[in-house]
Amino acid sequence: MTSAVLTRPGRSAATELVRRLPEYLMIWVPLLLSAAHLVSFSLWTLWISFTPSTLVPVSGWVGLRNYTAVAASRNWQIAFDNLLLFGSAFVLLSAATGLILAILLDQRIRAENVLRSIFLYPLAVSFVVTGTVWSWLLNPGLGIQKLVHDLGWTSFKFDWLIDRDMAIWTIVIAAIWQSSGFAMALFLAGLRSVDADIIKAAQIDGAGAVRIYRRIILPSLWPITITVVVIQLQFAISTFDLVRALTNGGPGIATQLPALVVYDLMFQRSLLGRGAAAAVLMLLILLAVLLPYAAWRYIQRRRANHA
């Protein structure tokens, strides 16, 4: 019927290995490089954090001295307090904004796609651009305050950018503007994935729209809410560019954040050991968020498998 099939004898293991070498290389080299750099770089930084390194990495062991020095520094303490405030305010407000936007967009409104694009476009822009633009808008001599003054309301005051106590809130504002769209996208997907039959059943039971949201739709969103919160926290902990462009940590060190402290110690003060210690502390803060999340995910998955 057709041509005979060429049957080749089995090859020896060695020639087989040579023949398949290109594919082994293509699989393993990138994956190994990626995995190896993650593991070794983390350990490397961890090691440096225990050495007396300053300008260049040196060997030696100072125990936890770098950590105590960082933890005792005013810079770090302010950064840590700021992180707590910024982290919680930003995460709560952006999740709330995202949820409100998602619910509004879920009302079968016209131009949903256009509106969604508007709420998401800040995510396409770099934090440097966001920070720069908001630094202009919030600058009392240039932005909103100046505009209102020019319009005649001269007693109007909106100078958080130069107010030591309020400056951190400017970062909250810019961060919310930048990333509420992300929360919205996740929430919207969650809202849309609620089983339509359940909604119909509730309507037949006589539930109104508000009740359907409160009793049926929103309760089903809490796993997504946790995901949103964790991802936004992860972002908050590593925030760097936004602050660099918006306040550069100022006024003074009022808007210092851990990532800025790390950079400052490593590359401006050349205290590599302390910089590394601060980086490890950042990682620990992150783990404090991620490990419970991972455990939660694990339990969820176990439960789903058992069900």
């Binding site: 293509m26 699989i27 983390s42 760097f240």
Partner: protein, 285 residues
């Protein structure tokens, strides 16, 4: 969903949505308008206002005339740097990630779960943990302060994302397809090239958009590993605002900001659907 809304409040809904949308658009509108106002005009009023005279020259100045840290070539060289880093790093990380994702999802090999697990940890590990080692490695291999160094970093780091994206996409491909092809005599690369790649359009678009946006917008590595003429545009923008702190040139600066943001904004406008898919794919790690 039908009839989830209640009619009388629809006006309120539209009102709320429009107001928020206006607030979200305001920064962009302000900057675009400023980029068309002369520096003097801005200095007299505020950053918020309608241009009295359209100052198109701001763009020319921002592009090639402007001075950043003693070099007066505008942001063109930095845009070029960003492109020379972003484009190769996006291509390399996407291709390598696609092959790696294909290998871990459709070809079981010893240790694949382990290595994949470690690679995905890269999604979470803060950049700060890798800053010092990268500095040392780049210096030792002579790539510090080079664009090649940044390409290397972004390729290796991007693998965490690209491998994850592609792997999650490829696991949905039936294994029988691979089996059939193996019986047909196709090997690892032929199966990838002839069968997997033609199915990969959507995920490659998602990955490319994600990587391009991320690398273009990246700042920390740019500012840490490069200086002066080698910096990408994000780092140059910061240098720019520091350089002009004394004599404000907000019109030109606004134009520079718009130019710097334009590539990723355009990609967002063209590939919005895929952009959002990348965001949510990254979230459901």
């Amino acid at each position: 969903m039908p009839d989830r809304s209640f009619a009388p409040s629809r006006i309120l809904i539209y009102l709320a949505v429009s107001l928020i949308a206006a607030a979200w658009l305001a920064p962009l509108v302000v900057v675009v308008l400023n980029s068309l106002r002369s520096n003097e005009e801005i200095a007299q009023g505020s950053m918020i206002g309608w241009p009295q005279q359209w100052a198109w020259s701001n763009y020319a100045a921002a592009w090639s005339g402007f001075c950043v840290a003693e070099t007066c070539a505008g942001i063109r060289p930095y845009m070029l740097n960003s492109a020379l880093v972003t484009i190769p790093a996006t291509i390399f990380s996407t291709l390598l990630g696609a092959i790696a994702g294909y290998a871990v999802s459709l070809w079981r090999f010893r240790g694949d779960n382990w290595i994949y697990g470690i690679v995905t940890l890269g999604l979470f590990l803060p950049q700060q943990m890798r800053l010092l080692p990268w500095t040392i490695v780049l210096r030792d291999i002579g790539l510090i302060n080079t664009l090649t160094g940044l390409v290397l970093i972004h390729t290796i780091q991007g693998l965490s994302f690209t491998t994850l994206f592609c792997r999650n996409y490829y696991v949905a491909i039936p294994h029988e397809l691979i089996r059939a092809a193996r019986i047909d005599g196709a090997g690892f690369f032929r199966i990838f090239w002839r069968i997997i790649l033609p199915l990969s359009g959507p995920i490659l678009i998602v990955t490319v958009i994600w990587q391009f946006t991320h690398i273009w917008n990246e700042f920390l590595y740019g500012v840490t590993f490069t200086t002066g003429q080698q910096q990408p545009v994000t780092a140059a923008l910061i240098a720019l605002s520091a350089a002009v702190a004394d004599i404000p040139q907000h019109g030109v600066q606004s134009a520079a900001v718009i130019i710097a943001a334009l590539p990723t904004l355009l990609i967002y406008l063209l590939g919005g659907k895929y952009f959002v898919r990348g965001l949510t794919a990254g979230a459901v790690k």
